[in-house]
Subunit: 400 residues, 2 copies
């Protein structure tokens, strides 16, 4: 019998999907499960996305350009980025199979096996999977829930540097913490990258989900850093087109773009129908984002106030994305999340949330924390948080 690769040993299960079988069982038992566990919102996509797909005529479906259709690239550049002050040539952008493929390609461009990437902890857990696939080491810089997961001092980054450090990877606003890094933060990180010749990989998939009055400051806007910045973006959350699998990579660095073009050619092209849907979505105006933003601010406010009213629970107030990380009065949040699915019921209902420990790489960190995605409608959200409060009251291992 042939032996599987060592990747099987080092690759973790998806932290986010690990509890799914328990949720499935609960549903099979007739229980209603409120899902605060994954970033799969219920918000409507722009109508123009559906219309574009419905109107798309084809009698067969050929490959598009490996870098994506010209029409989509031009529309993204001119209709989306230009109005927010980010400009680039069309050949400095490639359409990817969502942010996931973009991240894999960027790891391959920035790093050889054994190289290191600095990342703020807690971080989107698939960063870890993508780095393991490419034998790249993530080196973490800790952020603290009691300091609202704010950017640590640049000295903390510098302490983590080694000769193999090739890049800083930042998600802004951040999944899972909802932290929004300010212009001052971005300039400081830019200075670090310039000083130490590091790539700055900026994952801006949640750019339209910012809840302060400050204008969003993209890594692409850091002065004199154009050789260092690689932007990773996605249509998934922006237009709630997660299933379209469309994202992009943008960089002014010609070597990076040249290599990523080769990787893109090898896999032939990004999904054509997803490109059609995204092209359609782009005609949505600023009012689309405004409505979505207002809805998320309302949901966030409900989430944070209800969480902090529960005895022993603490959550900082996130300024972006649609997640928050909360500290619970339990010794082992994973056990609690599982217990909620297997044991807790209130009028035939329960709630699914995600333990936060898998978003940390440092062992035994974040064990009492959970990630909550506020992606359901307000009345449902209130009920889900009420269920969480009731669950914590009944949970046999609760500290409070």
């Amino acid at each position: 019998m042939p032996h599987i690769s060592h990747t099987a040993e080092i690759m973790p299960e998806s932290a986010i999907r690990k509890l799914t079988p328990y949720a499935d069982q609960a549903v099979a038992d007739g229980i209603k499960v409120y899902h605060l566990n994954i970033g799969a919102p219920d918000i409507k996509s722009p109508d123009s996305a559906m219309k574009a797909v419905r109107d798309f005529q084809f009698d067969h479906l050929p490959y598009s350009n490996s870098a994506g259709t010209y029409a989509l690239r031009r529309a993204i550049a001119e209709q989306y980025y230009k109005p927010i002050g980010i400009e680039f040539e069309l050949d400095e952008m490639l359409i990817t199979v969502a942010g996931s493929e973009a991240l894999t390609m960027v790891f391959q461009a920035a790093c050889d096996p054994g190289d290191e990437v600095l990342v703020l902890e807690p971080f989107y857990c698939n960063y870890n999977t993508f780095s393991l696939m490419n034998r790249v080491e993530l080196v973490t810089v800790h952020t603290d829930i009691r300091n609202a997961f704010k950017l640590p001092s640049i000295e903390e980054f510098e302490k983590a540097l080694t000769p193999r450090t090739k890049a800083v990877l930042l998600c802004n606003p951040a999944n899972p913490t909802g932290t929004l890094y300010t212009k001052a933060d971005m300039l400081a990180i830019g200075e670090l990258c310039r000083k130490h010749d590091l790539f700055l990989i900026s994952d801006e998939a949640y750019r339209e989900f910012c809840y302060t009055d400050e204008p969003y400051f993209s890594a692409m806007q850091i002065p004199d850093l154009q050789e260092n910045v690689i932007l990773v973006d996605s249509a998934s959350k922006r237009y709630n087109l997660c299933g379209a699998r469309i994202g992009c990579i943008i960089s002014h660095n010609k070597d990076v773009i040249k290599l990523i073009n080769k990787l893109a050619q090898a896999r032939l092209c990004p999904p054509v129908l997803g490109q059609v849907a995204t092209y359609g979505a782009l005609s949505a105006g600023a009012d689309y984002f405004e409505k979505v933003r207002a809805e998320y601010i309302a949901r966030r406010d409900i989430t944070i106030s209800m969480l902090n009213e529960i005895p022993g629970v603490y959550s900082p107030c996130p300024q972006g994305a649609f997640y928050t990380v909360a500290q619970l009065p339990v010794p082992d949040a994973e056990d609690f999340c599982k217990w909620m699915l297997t044991d807790f019921r209130d009028r035939g209902e329960t709630v699914m949330i995600t333990p936060a420990a898998p978003f940390y790489k440092t062992p035994d960190t974040g064990l009492d924390q959970v990630r909550i995605a506020y992606v359901i409608e307000q009345p449902e959200l209130r009920r889900a948080l009420e269920l969480l409060a009731k669950g914590l009251k009944k949970y046999p291992h609760a500290r409070a």
Copy 2:
């Protein structure tokens, strides 16, 4: 300025797309270019594919299951594979982002960096790119145009084995040669894999394009090899849905499936709209494939007879896929292919074909060979091959 990874140095340009700028220039100059260079056929997809997309109602587009929708997996298993005698459990199959992603995932499951995979040469050139990305070494076993690229003796494979050999990768029918491996061939390869504990990675994307009267014999049908076989398949060519980006991996090996599930979860899901199109395509009956097959046989017959009528040209008669590799009376086929685009014109027309050398890994091999994809309508195909004949007559470096 940060340094790009060494991947930039080792990753070749796409051999198939390298001449594209010259073709673009010819078109810009008003020249009509016949494309025999890429496997992008003009055949219609089943109407049911388009209908499924047009009828698909969504107000947002969530992720599907990482392994693909249950509906699509069941339809593929029951409507496509079961009738051709290939059976498996639904959890032994995962939907992938076409054959491209499937191959990358399978390399990661079968190999660690530095491991080796045996492949018949010439081979689909992106096997090389995928192996380089994963730091896997392709070790070639030579096949000869004068022997119609038939399977060499198993001793040739055994000579190429080292302690790091983990798998045999076979494309059946083969791109670029059109070779169809027989049941006896497959049983012999199966025996080799069993004896040496190798995975057999079987790329069967062209399974429906077979032009003999023998029934197709899949690697999945080799007796007692279920722990070794990993099937890679694709909807791209079968239904001419290249742009849908839908393929799959099937294996009875639980460890392989478990690892690939983890890789699949990391990238969240395959394209949802492509899954919808493919689900629709599956209701096409056997008559769809029969019509397509008849058309390709006619095209193949035109191609092979016209090629072999050109002085100094030799092409074996392929039994599958829609490619053939031909030997031309030129010292450097790449130069000839480029010259056809830049210098040769006949009534304002020329033809684009692909040099075959990039399909060989062994240096200085196949330099006088080209790959021809017979993917255009018969009258156009005749004219394109006439242009090739005329070009060879005029080409200043022709040997004939």
